[in-house]
């Protein structure tokens, strides 16, 4: 069986053409998946990404309660982000599954119990502001004050969460140490096989 040079040239051209067309498209999936999620009030926010940091796009996110009952469902966006409303304050299990059958799970602790609205008459506090010429009175309930503090804290925490997310991504990525260690293990195991076979042959 003989194949001509022109056949090979054409064959290579076709392969290169297909590859160059396909390479233009964007990337999406890799391997090990990880989830980063947190709760904010009645909502769960999260991000799902692969070991190389690329986002898990359009992946199904299922949020379950402690007993495994489904509470809500969402899909990740182009950045791998998702959010879903969950009213259950108990611990949650978040399961993300991609179209390519990759799966990741994360357990999220329960959110602190929400305080019941306080009795306005009992807890009404007056904050008095004095101007140079006249005095004005600003009335604020304890609940309003709590909401305001929560909003400020959330804004401050946002930066911290972003930082934690970046640290998580670094931890989840594959390091050169792991690769070298793995290759070392492989060589070690095969050396052991060689040693056993040699002893077996000698005996």
């Amino acid at each position: 069986m003989k194949l001509s040079d022109s056949f090979f040239k054409r064959f290579f051209r076709v392969i290169l053409l297909i590859l160059s067309i396909l390479t233009v498209s964007t990337s999406g999936y890799a391997h090990k998946m990880a989830i980063y999620a947190y709760r904010e009030g009645d909502k769960v926010f999260g991000e799902c990404y692969f070991a190389d940091g690329s986002p898990c796009v359009n992946s199904r996110v299922v949020i379950l309660n402690e007993k495994g009952a489904k509470l809500s469902e969402a899909f990740t966006d182009a950045k791998g982000l998702f959010s879903s409303e969950v009213k259950d304050p108990g611990p949650l299990k978040i399961v993300v599954m991609t179209e390519s059958a990759h799966k990741a799970e994360l357990k999220l602790g329960g959110s602190p119990q929400k305080r019941k609205p306080t009795d306005e008459n009992q807890f009404k506090r007056n904050v008095v502001r004095k101007n140079e010429n006249e005095s004005s009175q600003l009335v604020m309930t304890k609940d309003e004050l709590r909401i305001m503090i929560e909003e400020i804290t959330d804004a401050k925490l946002h930066e911290l969460r972003t930082e934690i997310k970046e640290i998580n991504k670094k931890v989840d990525s594959v390091s050169a140490r792991d690769i070298i260690g793995g290759i070392g293990c492989i060589i070690g195991v095969w050396a052991l096989v060689w040693f056993i076979m040699r002893r077996k042959n000698a005996s």
Binding site: L22, T23, G28, M97, A101, M197, R198
Partner: protein, 197 residues
Amino acid sequence: MHISEGILSPKILLAGAVLSAGGVVLGLKKLKNEDIPKAAVLSSAFFVASLIHVPLGPASCHLVLNGLNGILLGWTAFPCILLSLALQAVLFQFGGLTTIGVNSFSMAMPAVISYYLFRTLTHKGKKLAFLAGFLAGSLALLMAALFVGLALVETEKSFSPMVGAFILMNFPISLVEGVISGFVILYLKKVKPEMLT
């Protein structure tokens, strides 16, 4: 290509483990002393290949190199692939330890099939040797995608639309893998032809 933990049914996991164990035993029985360095190098190549992501098409897939393993090692590809997958599961959390049997079988069996289909072609001229490497590399990957798809469908019928998509998703990388395997075979034929015997 690796199936994660908690997806497959126990029946499929057990079947995969039994079949892989059989393949590993057969592979070790057929292993010769002089083939051990080759097996170690190819295991390492398989282990590292999964970390090389190629952005092709709507998905960025990774190299597998099971076809190259198969055409050079035959049944010994089973222990090689099993060892690499075990380390990938432990070190990188790729796949999982419970799915190692299914993952090993779905990647190693196509490698063995490639060995029987294309091994003789590597002894012919340079062009045919390249073609053998190309076909072994690309077809082994597509077969592995099919095996993974079948394992998923056997577990849950709702996965069935995934099989076609999974093969299609791996098609671009199968071409890359075919070219790499073809060139490796061609190179070995030139510098160390005894590796192909």
